[in-house]
């Protein structure tokens, strides 16, 4: 993720890269020699010498808390990768600190910048499918498909595991589209190939708004070429099924939002996505960075993917974890 963020930032007309920090000697060497960036192996030294306006933090989750805290204390704007912290206490502390310091704060839940999911949120918030009676949030993909060598992703104390790494995307989406998950009635975290962490998560959850639903996530499913995230939302007036590519909506009655008709409607992300200035691996990755840069230059309301929303997601994650016996 770090290199891809750096490339998108490098191509952004309003951004100047003043320093890069990495622990890999090889990465540092290549970036110094071929990109001409000033590189460091100590992030505090980097901040001290380069005096950046903003810092992107793309490191294993367990380092988010100490690093972001130091950065906030120095008064720089911070973008950090997801999930936010290892536990909601840490996230809460950083959220309060960021508010106090008054800097822009954003977490990399890129699905909020996917056209189909944005449209789902709009449809739900406008009440177009009536009262929500049930939802299902799912994600499947081929991350751990055999017993293999250990990395930080397989270490629970570093923020590894399917719940933290994969299911967090789905939980964050549900929290945003419907309302924050505030209860967990039962959850199963299962290892399939990993020794120390969960490879799948199944949970029955309730939201602040009183709706209930199911979370079903498995990162050991190699029938998928890459991660596939989807939501199904059932309401009294209709139903929404959406993934990052395709949005299908069924309307029961005649009260319809603009551009939709009674019965099934299908829309594609191509109809719902705004062009970005530089494309690397998906419009959403460029869009979230562009949003952050605009927030730093005070060109928007900077209210998507704030530390506050990521803290709520960490709370939901922790509820699901505590409910299981894993």
């Amino acid at each position: 993720m770090g290199l891809s963020h750096l490339s998108i930032l490098g191509a952004h007309p309003k951004v100047e890269i003043v320093g890069v920090c990495d622990t890999s000697k090889m990465v540092v060497e290549v970036l110094e020699r071929y990109s001409g960036y000033k590189c460091f192996s100590d992030y505090l030294k980097m901040v001290e010498e380069s005096c950046p306006d903003a810092v992107f933090v793309s490191v294993p989750t367990k380092y988010h808390y100490p690093m972001v805290k130091e950065l906030l204390k120095k008064g720089v704007h911070v973008f950090t990768e997801k999930p936010f912290c290892l536990n909601p206490e840490e996230s809460n502390e950083l959220t309060q600190l960021a508010k106090k310091v008054g800097v822009v704060n954003q977490v990399g839940y890129h699905n909020k910048f996917v056209g189909t999911f944005r449209e789902v949120k709009k449809l739900v918030k406008e009440g177009t499918i009536g009262e929500i009676t049930h939802f299902q949030g799912e994600a499947y993909g081929p991350v751990v498909i055999k017993k293999k060598s250990e990395t930080w992703r397989s270490d629970p104390t570093e923020g590894g595991g399917c719940l933290m790494d994969y299911a967090s995307h789905v939980i964050d989406l549900i929290n945003d589209i419907i309302s924050p998950i505030e209860s967990c009635k039962g959850s199963i975290l299962k290892s399939i190939y990993s020794k120390n962490v969960d490879d799948s998560v199944y949970a029955l959850v309730g939201t602040k708004s009183g709706t209930s639903g199911v979370i079903s996530v498995n990162w050991s499913d190699d029938t998928y070429r890459k991660m596939s995230t989807s939501v199904t939302i059932i309401g009294t007036e209709g139903k929404i099924i959406s993934d990052a590519n395709e949005l299908k909506v069924f309307f029961k009655g005649d009260k319809l939002p603009k551009g939709y008709s009674k019965g099934w409607n299908v829309k594609y992300v191509t109809d719902l996505t705004e062009e970005v200035n530089f494309y690397l691996r998906g419009e959403e990755y460029s869009a979230q960075i562009d949003y952050f840069i605009k927030s730093v230059s005070a060109e928007n309301s900077s209210d998507i993917n704030t530390f506050d929303s990521a803290w709520k997601t960490d709370k939901s994650i922790s509820l699901i974890k505590n409910q299981s016996s894993f």
Binding site: L3, S4, L6, S7, I8, L9, G10, A11, S24, M26, V27, E29, V30, L31, R33, Y34, S35, G36, V143, K148, S149, T151, R153, T223, R225, K226, S228, S230, D243, N245, E246, Y268, V269, T270, D271, T273, E275, V276, N277, F278, Y279, L280, R281
Partner: protein, 309 residues
């Protein structure tokens, strides 16, 4: 380059608008024989160029092509490297150094002279050349007149300002493989600027070009302007806008753009392949007729002026 080029997304369940369709494709093309059967349909429709990723399964297709030299004597392949998932998975597993050890041919750190020296002297351009050789192995004995760098790498390098690698890629493909280097990108205007700045003129670029401005970073107007200027040899891909535009309308748009040398498309059924080829040929024919009519009118009016004088 031929006017119509056949792509491989459908064979590997790459679908930009539907996970369901992607699964159906994965089922349909489970066996290599299904891929070959579809390629043969494309060849029968007059398409002799297959643009494909360096996916493991392409090695099997290459083997079949090599074994039937008579049948595939006019057949060309345009490799697109690297198959990024392979490396991405390996980096997650083994780290960057571990991945290089796994994929650089020969004993990376030991006996193989170039590999060992490159690693020790931190000569990353040579390491890239070794990786290119490793990706090209499967195409031995096959006609590969153009060799592409995948957009995920082209665009990553461009964003990181690593122009040197793009230049070195082009140079190596020309010298070692006697082929034309090609670049796939989602950022045509920006890439063309970078390549020209580094002395690569009239490059072969494959980019998303369609009526609905899908994946055309910088915007459709800028793309159309650049096409008019004729500064690069363009292969248009994603001409259907990921499936969002009706095929006829999509092909009419792209066929009539100036300086689009080739159109890349992928399809699974005979009907779709035949329809696409027929539509492009029909549009090209109409364009030619329009051009001739226009020229005739010009000659006629010029001769009238001449008579009046």
């Amino acid at each position: 380059m031929e006017r119509i080029i056949f792509g491989d997304n459908q064979f590997f369940a790459v679908n930009h608008i539907s996970d369901e369709k992607s699964r159906a494709q994965s089922i349909k093309f489970k066996d290599d024989s299904a891929i070959i059967k579809t390629l043969d349909i494309a060849i029968a429709a007059g398409i002799n160029t297959f643009m494909c990723t360096t996916h493991d399964r392409i090695a099997n297709i290459c083997e079949i092509v090599r074994k039937n030299p008579e049948k595939y004597k006019d057949f060309k392949m345009y490799p697109c490297m690297p198959y990024a998932h392979k490396y991405a998975n390996a980096v997650t597993d083994l780290g960057i150094a571990g991945t290089l050890k796994q994929y650089v041919p020969g004993n990376f750190l030991g006996s193989m002279f170039k590999g060992g020296v490159a690693y020790l002297s931190k000569d990353y351009i040579s390491i890239m050349e070794l990786l290119i050789d490793s990706e090209m192995k499967m195409f031995k004995g096959i006609n590969t007149p153009v060799i592409f760098l995948q957009n995920v790498i082209t665009d990553l390098l461009m964003g990181l300002g690593m122009d040197e690698f793009l230049v070195a890629y082009a140079k190596y493909i020309r010298e070692k493989y006697n082929a034309e280097p090609g670049f796939i990108t989602m950022n045509l205007p920006k890439l063309l600027g970078v390549l020209e700045k580094n002395g690569i003129t009239n490059p072969i670029i494959c980019a998303s070009i369609n009526k609905v401005n899908f994946r055309m970073s910088g915007g459709k107007d800028l793309y159309e302007k650049i096409l008019k200027e004729g500064r690069c040899r363009v292969i248009a891909m994603q001409v259907l806008g990921g499936g969002a535009i009706p095929a006829g309308e999509a092909l009419e748009y792209v066929s009539n753009l100036p300086n689009v040398e080739s159109i890349l498309f992928g399809a699974s059924s005979k009907q779709n392949i035949d329809n696409t080829v027929e539509t492009i040929n029909y549009q090209d024919q109409r364009k030619k007729e329009k051009f001739i009519t226009q020229k005739n009118l010009e000659i006629e009016s010029a001769s009238k002026v001449f008579k009046m004088n």
